[in-house]
């Protein structure tokens, strides 16, 4: 019997521009970049220089603290440049790719014959380790510390998120191999979170895992929420998390002996014409993916990831290594709304009852007047204030955590309080909805990110 966990708190935000389940042609830019800033918790040490020839799987830089932890080229080609910023900080390493990708060959034994330690060494060497993240701190997993469990969420509940069942079609054997490899590295189990009531025969047939079904509004698909409800992280413990498509990377590696970082990315959002899925590669320039599919508005915001917790990138920015989605929305900075605070603004969405969203979303209203599409843009829609309203955050965070008090402890830098109020369990993406509904327009994800970095530094 599978376990079922239901939550009520949360919020599903409906944007237009969900990706249709069609796969377009492969779109990979001619130049690929690795951006060290995309990885949390590492200091890069570059091992290539301009003009070096690399293959897919050749190390490009490694972490200064764990010199075994490689970050590898996703494609074969020639290193174009190592761009540095202030104080020689590495901003990016760009590679001009070959038309045909040549792969570094890793001689691999079958998973069944490998120990957890051997698997770990292989993954570190092949540059697949950075795809394994850990709670606490939401950083790349510390390879020296065995986790009490490993979590994979097979669904994403964020706005316009890709459907992983569709993405995974035909690759279940790679997925199973990836899971088997992960299972060897934990003393506990690999947990698979499945959306309750979904068809997903593929995910349900995966062996060697503990399956838990989840139902409820976003952020239920976030692995952090799933961990909280099944095996919460306490002080001194660690849990690893891996995204579905990243499990495939690990699976492919052990099945074929190559580092193949190709993935399906859902191109979504209100400003996308024909939103659909495109095969591309980690580190590709998003321009290659979006250029034929966006509206001709001049001010657009490109997001590597979803609208709630994705990274803002320029129109020729790089796809971050964890993203399975690109979202394009209106930037909105040219809009000047007169007396916005007093207007009915029926095209604006609010989770509060200070606007008419509640009525507009009701079945009766939609029957009579039809569906109203909300307009979304990147504006804050208000000024930044001190926290005024109470209870807002609790409604969208389905955890036994008092978010407001945790945030206040984080702002104050009170490590003791952060520890006991749930700092070890939370990741920026979990509080994205809190940030969305916040009347005071506080940058909560940034607050959490900074506080977690600080906590890590103080505790370790």
């Amino acid at each position: 019997m599978t376990n079922l966990i239901k939550t009520k708190r949360g919020l599903d935000i409906h944007l237009s521009g969900k990706a249709q389940e069609i796969i377009g042609k492969t779109l990979i830019s001619n130049v690929i970049a690795l951006v060290p800033d995309h990885y949390n918790g590492i200091t890069p040490k570059v091992v290539v220089k301009e003009g070096d020839v690399v293959k897919a799987g050749t190390p490009v830089f490694h972490d200064k603290n764990f010199s075994d932890m490689n970050f590898v080229a996703p494609v074969s080609g020639t290193v174009l440049a190592v761009t540095r910023g202030d104080r020689r900080k590495v901003l990016s390493i760009t590679i001009a790719r070959d038309t045909e990708i040549k792969y570094e060959n890793f001689s691999i034994k079958a998973i069944s014959g490998l120990s957890g330690e051997e698997i770990k060494t292989q993954l570190l060497q092949a540059g697949l380790w950075p795809f394994i993240k850990q709670r606490p701190y939401d950083v790349i997993a510390n390879p020296t510390k065995a986790p009490k469990a490993i979590y994979v969420s097979t669904f994403d509940s964020a706005p316009l998120a890709p459907n992983y069942e569709f993405v995974l079609k035909g690759q279940i054997s790679d997925f199973q191999t990836g899971i088997d490899a992960l299972a060897k590295m934990t003393t506990g189990k690999v947990h698979l979170g499945i959306k309750a009531g979904s068809e997903s025969t593929d995910f349900r047939s995966v062996r060697n895992v503990e399956i838990t079904e989840f139902s409820g509004p976003h952020p239920i698909g976030n692995v952090g929420i799933q961990i909280h409800h099944t095996n919460p992280v306490n002080k001194g413990e660690a849990v690893w998390t891996v995204n579905v498509q990243d499990v495939l990377f690990i699976g492919r590696f052990f099945n074929k002996g190559i580092v193949d970082l190709k993935r399906l990315v859902a191109l979504t959002g209100p400003q996308v014409i024909n939103p659909q899925y495109f095969p591309t590669i980690v580190g590709s320039n998003i321009q290659a993916v979006v250029k034929n599919s966006i509206s001709n508005k001049t001010l657009l915001r490109f997001i590597s990831g979803n609208v709630l917790s994705g990274l803002q990138v320029t129109s020729d920015g790089w796809l971050d290594p964890y993203a399975s989605q690109i979202t394009v929305i209106d930037e909105g900075s040219e809009i000047h709304e007169l007396f916005g605070w007093a207007m009915p603004r029926i095209h604006k969405y609010s989770a509060s009852r200070l606007y008419f969203s509640g009525i507009i979303e009701s079945k009766l209203f939609q029957k009579i007047f039809g569906k109203i599409n909300y307009e979304y843009d990147a504006r804050l829609l208000g000024g930044k204030r001190a926290i005024i309203m109470s209870g807002e955050y609790d409604k969208v965070l389905p955890m036994d955590i008092l978010p407001e008090f945790l945030f206040k402890a984080m702002i104050a830098g009170n490590i003791d309080k952060i520890e006991v109020l749930g700092g070890y369990e939370i990741a920026p993406e979990d509080v994205a909805l809190c940030e969305f509904v916040c009347t005071s327009k506080l940058p909560l994800q940034l607050i959490v990110r900074d506080a977690l970095d600080n906590l890590k530094k103080e505790v370790e």
Partner: protein
């Protein structure tokens, strides 16, 4: 409309750093964001935001206060003409009240916003909307014959010492409007109690001249109870007519401007609850606490008039309903945890009735009860948060 936008864009450089009107940057910014939704976009984290902001929230509270204000204006005129024994009709009564109350609104906003703008400029902040509500509350909770200069002094004191020194809107410990009221109450006790301040007996801007009728008495119902020498809870209106529950509910009785009518307050409460701006938990608990404590006094209390005052009357007379709906629910100064709100609200109602019944000095207990609980709100939250911490630590042992 684009003409307006163009004007603003043209003026803007003068107010920015290095411009000749840089000193008024915050003021300009305040007006600009009042006219136009700021077009700043998110720089980190969430790319889209909920349409709600603190302007919308604060304005809603002001809208919720309008029924109480309008009724209060009418009642001021009504009481006045009753006192001088003239019958002039609804509109004349309203006009009298309107002219009597308007200076309070102007003084309260003038003084408060002046300080707010200055502080915003000194600190380099945006102007915050908190005072929109506070400035509207102040005229509603003072007796109509309070001298205006007192209101000005009290407002300035409250805004500076109860809010700005703590860091402005969202940081204050005490409800700013209530501090204004408390300042008046303790600094000028002779003006703020007794029978003479609750009904305007003189004229306003030359309107409503007349001689007081003999039957007139200006004491509030709670004031009468506090000074009553008998043990019966017998209260009368301005003309000596006996008052019952419905009189308190409708509110054509002497009292502070906005507090008399439970109906008008109820309309505001409905709006606050529908929009979710005020917590029903706090509001409900205040009434529950008050009702229970009054019921206890009705049955087991001392043998005084106020202890015999029926529990349901306690809820509609005086400032109880107004305090419960508009003051106790102030999110900044109330308990911020959901469980805490029940406790906080309940204790406000509870304390208000205790002060009313047991303290002969203060006929009204709501103001002191809320200020007292403002102090305890962080303590209540502390224990609720502590319970959460303990519960979460327990998980390790299992």
């Amino acid at each position: 409309m684009s003409a307006l936008k163009n004007t603003i864009d043209k003026l803007k450089p003068h107010f920015e750093k290095g411009g000749k009107l840089e000193k008024f940057h915050s003021v300009f910014d305040g007006f600009e964001s009042f006219l136009y939704v700021p077009n700043t976009t998110s720089k980190s984290g969430t790319h889209i935001h909920d349409a709600v902001d603190s302007k919308r929230t604060m304005i809603l509270v002001v809208v919720a206060l309008i029924p109480a204000l309008l009724f209060g204006m009418f009642n001021v005129g009504y009481q006045h003409y009753l006192a001088i024994g003239q019958s002039v009709g609804f509109w004349s009564e309203f006009l009298f009240g309107f002219l009597a109350v308007l200076p309070f609104i102007l003084v309260s906003y003038g003084v408060g916003l002046g300080i707010e703008f200055t502080v915003a400029q000194i600190k380099g902040h945006e102007i915050q909307e908190g005072f929109l509500v506070t400035g509207f509350l102040i005229p509603l909770i003072v007796p109509i014959d309070t001298p205006l200069w007192m209101v000005a002094v009290a407002t300035a004191f409250a805004v500076i010492f109860a809010k700005e020194v703590f860091g402005g809107t969202g940081m204050n410990i005490f409800n700013v409007a209530l501090v204004t009221r408390a300042f008046l109450f303790f600094a000028y006790p002779t003006y703020m109690s007794g029978d003479s301040v609750w009904v305007r007996t003189g004229s306003t801007f030359g309107l409503g001249n007349g001689k007081l009728v003999d039957a007139f008495t200006g004491a509030t119902p709670l004031g009468q109870l506090a000074t009553s020498t008998t043990q019966t809870a017998h209260i009368t209106g301005t003309m000596g007519n006996p008052l019952g529950f419905m009189d308190g509910f409708i509110g054509l009785i002497p009292g502070s401007v906005g507090e008399t009518s439970a109906i008008a307050i109820l309309i505001g409460a409905t709006l606050l609850l529908i929009t979710g701006v005020a917590s029903w938990k706090t509001m409900f608990s205040v009434f529950a606490g008050g009702a229970i404590m009054a019921l206890v006094f009705n049955n087991f209390g001392p043998d005084t008039a106020v202890a015999h005052f029926p529990w349901y009357n306690h809820l509609v007379f005086g400032g109880f309903a107004f305090g419960a709906v508009f003051m106790a629910t102030d999110p900044v100064t109330s308990a911020r945890t959901e469980t805490g709100k029940y406790i906080y609200g309940f204790l406000i109602g509870f304390m208000a009735i205790i002060i009313r019944v047991l303290n002969p000095g203060y006929p009204e207990g709501m103001m002191l009860a809320i200020l007292l609980m403002n102090i305890f709100a962080p303590l209540i939250d502390y224990y609720v948060v502590d319970a959460n911490i303990k519960r979460r630590l327990k998980r390790i042992k299992n």
